[in-house]
């Protein structure tokens, strides 16, 4: 087994996995800006940070290394979460399949889970962060988690559904009207992708 070289600083953006103007209630202008500027910014900044880190010897002050490492984590996780976010949009929002069943088992009903997920998103309104549905690899549990910035993720979580609550996700179209964004997000969830991730996560846990 081989692993890729570290700190290459040559990450490339993934294209949007749907036609930018095709979302239901999320404008082409906003999703394009989100993809180009916020996600693209994270990828470009990750590359720059990796290039800086690649230069490290024993000489630079520890505080400089610590600052670069903090930026690296921020941009790497921003990149990963944005890629998961865009890939779980572009659908018809109709929940189905295994994920529908297990959300019902875990939360009483999948609608009850959606209430939890939306309420967590509302709690981040006016600020920034992410709401994520995770499959926890060590326990096999489903977890709905909050994060106030890019770097707060579940230590053993495999992301199933990711919702961006940074204001760049909704201010341009909805201003401060968070409930309208939550409606638009759920109307566009690509549940086939979520089911595929759940399938991969289960296989990963089985292999551990």
């Amino acid at each position: 087994m081989t692993v890729p070289a570290a700190l290459t600083g040559d990450h490339r953006m993934l294209p949007l996995p749907f036609v930018a103007g095709s979302l239901n209630g999320i404008s082409e202008r906003m999703i394009t800006s989100h993809h180009e500027n916020n996600y693209g910014g994270a990828v470009r900044n990750l590359n720059r940070t990796e290039q800086e880190l690649a230069q490290i010897t024993r000489d630079p002050p520890p505080l400089l290394v610590a600052a670069l490492r903090e930026r690296e984590l921020t941009f790497r996780k921003s990149k990963a979460l944005h890629e998961a976010y865009f890939a779980n949009l572009g659908g018809d929002g109709l929940r189905s399949g295994a994920i529908e069943t297990v959300l019902g088992e875990a939360y009483g009903s999948s609608s009850r889970w959606e209430e939890h997920f939306r309420a967590t998103g509302s709690g981040l309104g006016g600020g920034s962060g992410w709401v994520m549905l995770w499959f926890e690899l060590d326990t096999g549990s489903l977890r709905t988690a909050w994060s106030g910035h890019h770097t707060q993720t579940l230590a053993t979580g495999f992301p199933l559904l990711v919702m961006d609550m940074y204001e760049h996700s909704y201010q341009m179209d909805f201003g401060a009207a968070v409930p309208r964004y939550l409606d638009a997000f759920f109307a566009n969830v690509q549940w086939d992708e979520v089911n595929a991730r759940f399938e991969r996560a289960q296989r990963l846990r089985a292999a551990l």
Partner: protein, 201 residues
């Protein structure tokens, strides 16, 4: 603030009497004891509707719209806040002190001076370094060693932080007729100005 949200603040810090530009990554962050003078909201709600991700244009617009009279008024009010009061030790008000800088100047100019480290025994037993040019003497046994000092040269005493022991030692020596004073701030004030120290053996 690439990839982040938060505030950029110009804050007056009375403790230091200085203005500081700093960022705050959420509403809860601030400089302890600081007074905000100018606040730039970098949450995306402040600019995303009109500027998208073009923060440069937003910041330029912000700068064009600053109400400097209000900022000036805040600053005028803020600088009235006094820094924390300095240590007042009325019991030692008659004992003269000397600053670490003045001691260093005496040493570098070759002036003869007797520098006595009177850090208490319970501290000196675990101390790692001592001021270059100083000798340690146990302040509890001052009566025993003060006879070895010369009354023709000034004496400087100091303790760890310059509060009590160094002052008491200087006061006792003065009562015995020595030209003694204490070094303000003690051993750590000396280290703070990067005065030379050596291994305490």
């Amino acid at each position: 603030m690439t990839g982040d949200a938060g505030w950029i603040l110009l804050t007056y810090v009375p403790r230091d009497g200085r203005l500081i530009n700093h960022s705050a990554s959420d509403h809860a962050e601030s400089i302890a004891g600081g007074i905000p003078i100018l606040a730039l909201d970098m949450y995306e709600h402040a600019y995303h509707i009109e500027y998208g991700a073009n923060t440069t244009a937003y910041i330029a617009a912000f700068m064009r719209n600053i109400h400097w009279d209000a900022v000036e008024a805040r600053y005028t009010d803020a600088i009235k806040v006094l820094p924390p009061r300095s240590l007042d030790q009325p019991e030692f008000k008659d004992v003269p002190s000397i600053t670490p800088e003045e001691v260093q100047e005496m040493l570098t100019s070759g002036k003869r001076v007797q520098i006595i480290d009177t850090r208490p025994r319970h501290y000196s037993t675990r101390a790692q370094d001592i001021v270059e040019g100083a000798v340690w003497r146990d302040p509890e046994r001052l009566e025993e060693w003060m006879g070895s000092l010369s009354k023709d040269e000034p004496v400087v005493t100091f303790c760890v932080y310059g509060f009590h022991i160094g002052c008491q030692s200087a006061a006792a020596l003065r009562r015995a007729g020595f030209d003694a004073r204490y070094m303000a701030g003690g051993h750590y004030a000396w280290k703070a100005i990067k005065g030379p120290v050596k291994l305490f053996e």
